[in-house]
Symmetry: C2
Subunit: 323 residues, 2 copies
Amino acid sequence: MAVTIRDVAEASGVHVSTVSRAFSAPHLVNPETRTRVLAIAEDLGYRPNRAARALTTGRTHNIGLIVADIANPFFPPLIKAAQAQARLRDYHVFVADTDEDPQVEEDLIQTLTKQVDGVLLCSPRLTNRTIERLREEVPFVVVNRRAKGLPTVLMDVGRGARLAVEHLTALGHRRIALVTGPSGSWTSKEMQEAAATMSDVDVVFLGPNPPTELGGLAAATDVVASGATGVLAYNDLVAIGLIEGLAERGKNVPGDVSVIGVDDIVPGRLSRPKLTTIAMPTAAAGRIAVDLLLQSVDSAATAAATMLETALIVRESTGKAHR
Amino acid sequence: MAVTIRDVAEASGVHVSTVSRAFSAPHLVNPETRTRVLAIAEDLGYRPNRAARALTTGRTHNIGLIVADIANPFFPPLIKAAQAQARLRDYHVFVADTDEDPQVEEDLIQTLTKQVDGVLLCSPRLTNRTIERLREEVPFVVVNRRAKGLPTVLMDVGRGARLAVEHLTALGHRRIALVTGPSGSWTSKEMQEAAATMSDVDVVFLGPNPPTELGGLAAATDVVASGATGVLAYNDLVAIGLIEGLAERGKNVPGDVSVIGVDDIVPGRLSRPKLTTIAMPTAAAGRIAVDLLLQSVDSAATAAATMLETALIVRESTGKAHR
DNA sequence: TACTTTAGTGCAATCGTTTGTATCGCTGTC
DNA sequence: GACAGCGATACAAACGATTGCACTAAAGTA
């Protein structure tokens, strides 16, 4: 059916090895021969069979991208960027969704291992021990989590949290609540550590909470009870839920309480009031993670952590504190 | 490095072909031998090399999933469901993003063709002629667009539109605007045709518009000018933009104008007022599309169109019309 | 002129599976 | 007792590429 390297070889009167080299080792073949072969290949619509190539070279030119939940608005921009970057490098991306289940995550890595050159792990739920074990089988890059000895891409949410708190204090808020996320979350820990070092302000920690709209909704009671007039939420979904919960209790945002989220996901840009938030460079993270992965595929892994800048985006959910 | 079928064969004292058959043709090998081989394979951590298998069988056990824009909230649930379904069938999914560019879409299909058993095309922007040509190379299933002679998964947005208009008329609205989408869109056409057949109501068509929040924002002027008190928007993003545009012109939703969107994406559930919308069964579409695709991979393609039901979800953006 | 180098190409092994065919030892039949 | 039939297994040829090595002819060197 399909046109193979052999067809091209016959059509151009050379051996298959010459055709192969015309593509992958140009300097080894006569320029004239090369252009002729390439033209004929083009003509015949020849595309190298990657499976066959993978068999001899051991390189599949595929990478795996594993996320907890594709439908979580945080991930699509990252996936999109990673896929585009991989395409630039002539790699294809398997996307897999673990449904937040560590067991599924491990299985997925196992079955993917043999047909990819590396795996991108986004916000993995696996234990460090398991990651340690699996890294023997395939190169990893981890995004959004610290993993000792592995190349890692992180976003500086600590600095983001400081910017957020500074923004709130500049607006006159003196008592601030940090609505934390799940207890195991690296992001949440970073935010707490950063907030704890701030001066000129009282910070109360409320949590842990599920990282969802419902988590925010439920946290509204605590926020009201805390007497805080400024809130930094674990992420935008929590912030949106919180704003709703506050409204139910007669509190207006930003009139009575200022709320800041994290992630800058699409719903936050469209909700009302539009969410002031800490923007995470997810697209950049995806791009860089792919580059790091491909780099560690054909040389020794550089186990450095890359830290990306975050930025405060002020929209409508924060305002001046009144006495 | 990795453990191959040969290692398993040697460890169990049989020929590789026996090991192969122990997996893929159990009835051809002695039950005793089989269990022994399987145990040893398990022990050694043997995983068949898919590239090698693909080479002989011609089946890669991969499928391609091509969408216009991963970051568009409409797609992730579909991708998620498709990927999960594929995994059930022991298939892996390449996800690729065309950035809404037909040329990229065509390239993508070309390069993917050789390493997948079939391609899922979601809301393709390709011309019918191009699809016609490409289908020679690889089995397709098309989602969210009519494609003659190809298996197709559609969502009954026509019925959804009728439900929406009925809902508005039941609330007393007598003049309704349909804010249409891009001119080439199948969905938009379906909605127009359905709306045109409704009685007891004036329907005005406003468009075409880009399928984004900005498109909705810009359409607000026309809506106000049209004198309509009820609006059906091309999708949720447009609806959200429209609500914002109406607010800028002093029109309250649902007080002055009722607005209905399409898709039931997450932002619509979180925006304020919460959006009344026509829910599209995207997850089901993803699942079914995968099944159809795998089916047409190893038998003749059934070129039937599957139509999925939509549903009206009433939230807060629609209300009674007042004289 | 004889020898070495080098550019360009062909040859053949190899990657890890699958699968059609051959082989082998039994059992049952006539 | 010869042989067909059969279950179980081994053999070996693919699949489509890559790549180390061998070879040839021309160019460079002494």
